[in-house]
Subunit: 137 residues, 2 copies
């Protein structure tokens, strides 16, 4: 749990359980999801512990806060550049590979980004996942 | 101030001032920005009034909460689909036209969105604006 050490936070069993829940997690959980999952093991743990641990990890760049529209904050332990496919109905978030590129030519041709030094792009694709498409039709 | 009527909130002078501040605003202000700007006119107005008005407008789909990484919530009165150019240093946010398209072919070829019904895409381009590029070099 190197990440926890980097934040300067004490390695309590609760915090280690939060880290364990996040490690390799592809579900993009909210603080509430993590609290629900871990609290049965630690009945005395407060929601604030989960929330503050997540905020601290985020402030140290060790997890990412997901930037999807509205609703609860979601967290991603994968801090590499990648994009997301978001189901507006069931709120499932799926990672998309970074290879997806913008038509940069269109951008530069339009002149809108002249002089702007691009560091990264983040693409959110909103829609209905296959399961929700079926139940909506 | 038709928007305010739609939320069912009373048209108080404070709320009208918040709406006036947002109308056509391209600066993507935070709740704090709006409070700072309006409170000299209404010294008794609380920050909660600004915050709750914004949340209410957002819940009614009348303004958008911006989904940029980290930091304070920012708000956009332009609810149409459009993208953003975000300076990571000065936090300036500039609207980009919706014409910017993804290379959808790359997406479908990769098979990652098979069965996913795309409703909208939202692209955030992070980097340094021309002014911050100059001061950083």
């Amino acid at each position: 749990m190197e990440k926890l050490k980097k934040t300067g936070m004490k390695q309590t069993p609760q915090r280690l359980a939060i880290m364990h829940h996040l490690e390799g997690n592809k579900c993009h959980p909210s603080a509430e999801d993590i609290y629900k999952s871990i609290s049965p093991k630690f009945p005395s743990m407060s929601f604030a512990t989960v929330y503050n641990t997540l905020e601290n990890l985020k402030d140290h760049g060790l997890i990412k806060e997901l930037t999807i529209e509205s609703g609860k904050k979601r967290f991603d332990p994968d801090t590499s550049d990648h994009h997301h496919l978001i189901c507006v109905k069931c709120k499932k978030i799926v990672d998309l590979p970074q290879e997806i590129q913008l038509q940069q030519k269109a951008l530069t041709t339009a002149g809108v980004i002249k002089g702007f030094r691009i560091l990264s792009t983040q693409i959110n694709i909103y829609g209905l996942c296959p399961e929700c498409t079926k139940t909506s039709s």
